[in-house]
């Protein structure tokens, strides 16, 4: 378990060179404390996906510094050699759609990463079951993803993101396809999980329904961010 969440200083991302260069991110600063759920809001094309990809270590920023916990992972260049391991162990992803592996059952979907990493299957599965129970979908543990409702699938996806107890969870429009009741339910879960496991959660969204739930919001426009205090409505 990490002590500090995630800290980003002066992050920039430039696509292309010369006259056709595009600055997707310009000097972005962001801090998320462990256990905190912040929102990242911006119109399409504002660079929020780019920021998420940088945070998720799938694209390389041009400049800046990223710190995960107490480890500097990027300082004008990647400081970690195995980015994939980083993603597996330190970052959890929740997507717009659940993106569960269709040929694995619910438990194995959640337990996949630890099992692939070489951990014993039984231990991985019991850990998965714990999370499923916490997320209230344990009764679907043996089902195939296609048998689950949208909300159940999303919860399983969240469980998958949490299985390795990552210090950071990046959620990309997690409530977009859901109705307000379900959306709030997801946010409730995220908040609870964040607090329980001391995970820093960044939620990229433009869903009006959940915006009141954030205590802090980062607005992003044209590659720049500025912080705002949210409503912090209790769930």
């Amino acid at each position: 378990m990490q002590t500090f969440g995630i800290k980003i200083e002066g992050l920039s991302k430039r696509y292309g060179t010369g006259d056709t260069a595009v600055d997707a991110l310009k000097d972005v600063n962001m801090t998320v404390a462990p256990g905190e759920v912040v929102g990242l809001i911006g119109p399409s094309g504002s660079g929020k996906s780019t920021l998420l990809k940088c945070l998720g270590a799938v694209i390389e920023p041009t400049a800046g510094r990223m710190t995960l916990g107490d480890e500097v992972i990027f300082d004008d260049a990647w400081r970690i050699s195995d980015l994939r391991a980083l993603r597996r162990d330190k970052i959890g992803f929740v997507f717009q759609a659940p993106y569960l592996i269709p040929f694995l059952d619910v438990t194995d979907n959640v337990a996949l990463l630890p099992m692939l990493a070489g951990q014993p299957n039984a231990a991985s599965r019991s850990r998965a079951l714990e999370l499923l129970t916490a997320l209230d979908v344990a009764h679907r543990a043996k089902a195939q993803p296609s048998e689950l409702s949208g909300g159940e699938q999303q919860r399983v996806a969240i469980a998958r993101a949490l299985v390795n107890q990552p210090p950071v969870i990046l959620a990309d429009e997690p409530t977009a396809p859901l109705d307000s009741e379900r959306a709030l339910s997801v946010m409730r879960i995220l908040n609870r999980m964040a607090q329980q496991y001391r995970t820093a959660v960044i939620v990229v969204t433009h869903d009006e329904k959940i915006m009141p739930t954030f205590k802090r919001i980062y607005h992003i426009r044209d590659g720049r961010t500025h912080e705002e205090v949210g409503e912090g409505k209790s769930l």
Partner: protein, 405 residues
């Protein structure tokens, strides 16, 4: 694709149901695969049928193909070249011995006979004349003799001169010579008569040969020359056979003719009527075999001559040899040759062993007597799917009929 089994509550049961059944299916598939490889193809054991060595009686038999021929067949033809004058019978006619069948053109034979008759008559007259001359010479001889004795007497008494006596003695000698001459003439005339008589008899005989007579009772089988055609000596004008003398000239493979002997009973099946079983027996075994076709020849006579058979017809002849009691009998399909040895494969304790045997007589039905090499209770391998070797894996079955490729 979804399984339609209900999702059970407990976790491990689900894993077992889908994965388990599919593994079972795969295992069954692999098992079928293995079974197929073991059962068919080159790895499979060879299927064979076996038979216990039997005991019993077999009737060996000889089999040959024969043609119906006539024991006695005659070629009727002239003894000299000539022209056919008339033919009095046709194919199929029954004739009696001595019957006139055909006649050749006598040409000038009749005229020559007439000429000889005339010469003969003249010779007879010549004999008469010679006889008269002889009588005359005899009379003169007698007279000359008497005269000679008288004059001799007179000469002795000196009544006549000695020259007169010599003259009369000489007359006597002359008369005697004349008598001898006349006697000789007479003999000559008589012999002439004989000669001419013989010549005439000869021509008569020739005239007789021009008439072709049937040498015996029989049936005409061929009419080879029509009136007006010229034939040479030895060519047939008609062919005649004695129908009662029809027999089957049968050929037997030399290699399979052991036991061929006079008097063996025969079953004859004619090509024209194979269902009718005719019986006969061997009446002659030819001393001369055919060395080109490697066959022995025997003549089989019918017990009762069937009707409606024709010369040259083919017949299948089976001769039954005396039945023998065989101690060990095997089907001939079990006899195999390995290199130079003849033997059988004996099925002992699940494997095949080649045992050299000495085969004896065999029946036409395929049973072979084993003289030496097998014991009681031995099981021989009769039929097999493929060639058997000492280390073939065997599987005994009831029958192999319908075996695949």
């Amino acid at each position: 694709m979804k399984f339609s089994i209900p999702v059970p509550a407990s976790g491990s049961a689900l894993v077992r149901s889908r994965g388990f059944w599919l593994s079972v299916l795969l295992l069954a598939l692999l098992l079928a695969f293995g079974v197929i490889v073991a059962r068919s193809g080159p790895l499979a054991p060879t299927r064979v049928t076996v038979a216990k060595v039997g005991e019993g009686a077999i009737t060996p038999a000889l089999f040959g193909i024969g043609t119906i021929e006539a024991r006695r067949a005659y070629l009727i033809g002239p003894t000299t070249a000539g022209r056919v004058l008339r033919v009095l019978v046709d194919v199929g006619d029954r004739v009696k011995a001595g019957q006139l069948l055909a006649e050749m053109d006598p040409v000038d034979l009749d005229e020559r006979i007439t000429a000889l008759d005339a010469s003969l008559a003249r010779a007879g007259n010549a004999v008469t004349a010679s006889e008269a001359q002889r009588r005359d010479a005899e009379a003169r001889n007698q007279l000359a003799g008497i005269n000679a004795r008288r004059y001799k007497d007179l000469g002795d008494k000196k009544f006549v001169s000695s020259s007169a006596v010599e003259a009369k003695l000489q007359e006597e000698i002359s008369a005697r010579a004349g008598l001898n001459a006349a006697e000789a003439n007479l003999s000559a005339a008589r012999q002439d008569t004989l000669r001419l008589g013989a010549e005439r008899d000869g021509l008569r005989q020739q005239r007789g040969n021009v008439r072709l007579l049937a040498p015996s009772d029989g049936v005409i089988t061929a009419r080879d020359a029509e009136p007006g055609s010229t034939v040479v000596a030895g060519q047939a004008v008609l062919r005649l056979i004695e129908p009662a003398s029809l027999w089957v000239k049968t050929r037997f493979d030399q290699g399979r003719s052991a036991g061929l002997a006079l008097g063996l009973p025969a079953e004859i099946a004619l090509r024209s009527d194979p269902a009718r079983a005719l019986s006969g027996k061997v009446v002659r075994v030819d001393l001369l075999s055919d060395s080109v076709t490697e066959e022995r020849i025997a003549q089989i006579a019918f017990d009762t001559l069937p009707e409606g058979i024709s010369l040259g017809e083919l017949a299948e002849v089976t001769l039954k040899l005396p039945t023998i009691e065989a101690k060990f009998l095997v089907p001939n399909a079990s006899i195999k040759r390995r290199g130079e040895q003849v033997g059988v494969w004996v099925h002992r304790s699940g494997a095949a062993h080649f045992v050299v045997v000495k085969p004896g007589k065999a029946s036409l039905g395929g049973q072979v007597e084993i003289v030496d090499g097998l014991g009681e209770g031995d099981q021989v391998i009769v039929h097999s799917e493929r060639e058997i070797t000492a280390d073939s894996r065997l599987k005994v079955v009831e029958s192999l009929a319908g075996a695949g490729k």
